[in-house]
Amino acid sequence: MDKALLSTRNLHRSFGGVHAVKDVSFHVPTGAIKAVIGPNGAGKTTLFNLIAGTLTPHQGQVIFRGQPITGHKPHAVAALGIARTFQTTKLFPHMTVLENVMMGRHTRTRSGFLAGMFNAPWTWREQRQTEAKARAILEELGLTAHTNETACNLPFGRQRLVEFARALATEPSLLLLDEPAAGLNIYETQQLSQLILKIRDTGITCLVVEHDMSLVMNISDEVVVLDQGHKIAEGPPAAIQRNPEVIRVYLGDEHA
């Protein structure tokens, strides 16, 4: 197997009596697109939150580039090169599209409170670079026309794309995408799969939670299936499609 960029070991998290994620171990190989699928409430978003540091696991470990990052706070995880998008888009609604994407440069820039207050000359260059980088990414994703629009005024599909642009602006080595196709039409979904493939080709490893089966089967190199917090299957998409356990979970017992 390829060298794993990210691994989880026996990850566990419960809410009250609900075991949202239970004993989940898997690897994400460097440079791959790995999908996480599972019915509603399977624990996919919780798994992402555990990796990104939004939630702390009750047991188990998250390992990134061979180092444990379990329990790191989200900002520390981001600084290591893990970026994410959210199941329900979380833009900065009253900031412009450009400012949203510029926020993606936060971990790649330095100027602090004092430098900011005294407008230190070296911060100007940093600011210009931040802006140039953000504009370049907007152009790449075809969002240039929206540069100065207020984020909340964009149509839903565009907002998704801006969130993507913002995550890419961090220059991540691992990108976590939580249901990127939710709410998109067929045309937009196709564009999205092209985009994810393109991102992967630039060397960014992707971990994608997705409900859209055709998207998952088309783009992913490997699939993990969760059900009620458990990992019930893992493998290449073709094998997952034939896996009786997966079919049972998705289609009901009589099909198994």
Binding site: A52, T54, K73, P74, H75, A78, A79, A83, R84, F86, K90, L91, F92, P93, H94, M95, T96, L98, E99, M102, M103, G104, H106, T107, T109, S111, G112, F113, A115, G116, M117, F118, N119, T123, W124, E126, Q127, T130, E131, N148, R166, T170
Partner: protein
């Protein structure tokens, strides 16, 4: 261009001179006294605008920080160290030039700390207290943060009211003027009126420039992002706890600066400065100024405090500010500039650039 953000500063500077000329022409230079005082109150509002308007963290305790700044300056410059003149610490301070000898109104010889030493201590002490308080409450969200800071404000008020060295209900008077440089001094007596009018404005404009620089910087963008969506900001690498704490401390230091300077200007400070109604007033002013709008906050800070000091609101003073706050929360909780019809106006007035 970033220089664009300074144009209103220049325009304001011109207006300040014109206002002086107009007041001189109308033979009404006595208004300058209240304008000067309002300018020092505006410092609190500018700091609170960073905290509340930009970073989205409410505080009902800023009168407390103002009072800590003011009382520290007052105590250190009035407390007579003469009986302890030979104590090691006092001797050391004397050797370092941190103390001064002067006579108060009654001709008593006083050995006290210099206003500069007191000013530095006031800012440092306030910053430390804000750090300790902030470290424990800044994680709280919305109403909970407002209530925790309200509690802090109440404690400061009760301490001011109950501590003998702080003068209890009478507060501290006979605070000496603050000699800055040469003949330049923070002094409320009539001969110094014009000098102090300009001095206060210079302080306010410097505070504005620092605050404007900050909001247009990487940190300013991060602070706004926390306001807009804290979880997203955190996931992009913003250390939200640190940023919120830092801006909390910064705004407290702005408040302390206003408190210390006003105390030297008026020559006194009393517990009225530490009341919760004062904190409510500062919040109301930031709200009516447009929340994330430094210029709105500054202009409203000076205007409303000036009207209040002139006694325009009579005995309804607190009522007026309470009512302003209620109206703002009902009709424009995000600040006036988020009301669609006023938005166009806002984009003319505010200089929040797109980058």
């Amino acid at each position: 261009m970033r220089l664009r953000i300074y144009y209103p500063v220049l325009a304001t500077a011109v207006l300040i001179v014109l206002l002086h000329l107009a007041l001189a022409y109308a033979d009404a230079t006595y208004y300058m006294t209240q304008i000067t005082m309002s300018a020092y109150y505006a410092l609190v509002v500018i700091g609170l605008c960073l905290l509340m308007g930009y970073a989205g963290q409410a505080s009902l305790g800023h009168a407390g920080f103002f009072a800590i700044g003011g009382y520290t300056a007052a105590v250190l410059t009035t407390y007579n160290l003469r009986p302890y003149a030979d104590a090691p610490f006092v001797s050391l301070c004397r050797a370092l030039g941190l103390t001064m000898q002067w006579k108060d109104l009654y001709g008593t010889d006083i050995l006290s700390f210099t206003p500069w030493a007191a000013f530095g201590s006031a800012l440092l002490l306030t910053g430390l207290i804000a750090l300790v308080i902030g470290a424990s409450v800044i994680r709280l969200k919305g109403h909970y943060l407002a209530m925790a800071t309200l509690g802090f404000g109440l404690i400061v008020y009760r301490i001011a009211l109950g501590t003998p060295v702080l003068g209890r209900a009478d507060g501290i008077s006979n605070v000496p003027p603050f000699h800055l440089l040469g003949s330049l001094q923070v002094n409320g007596r009539a001969p110094f009126r014009i000098q102090n009018y300009y001095l206060a404005w210079v302080v306010v404009l410097i505070a504005m420039v620092l605050a404007l620089n900050l909001v247009h910087s990487r940190v300013g963008r991060a602070l706004r992002s926390i306001h807009e969506n804290e979880e997203a900001a955190h996931s992009l690498g913003v250390n939200t706890y640190r940023y919120k704490l830092a801006v909390f401390v910064l705004s407290a230091i702005f408040a302390a600066m206003g408190g210390a300077l006003l105390t030297h200007y008026s020559g006194s400070i009393g517990p009225a400065e530490a009341t919760v109604m004062k904190s409510v007033r500062y919040v109301a002013i930031v709200a009516v100024g447009g929340m994330a709008n430094l210029w709105g906050a500054m202009v409203m800070g000076i205007l409303l405090n000036f009207l209040s000091l002139r006694g325009v609101f009579g005995s309804f003073d607190d009522t007026v500010f309470g009512a302003i706050l209620i109206m703002m929360m009902i009709f424009a909780p995000q600040g006036l500039l988020r009301v669609p019809r006023l938005r166009a106006l806002g984009s003319l007035v505010s200089r929040r650039s797109h980058a």
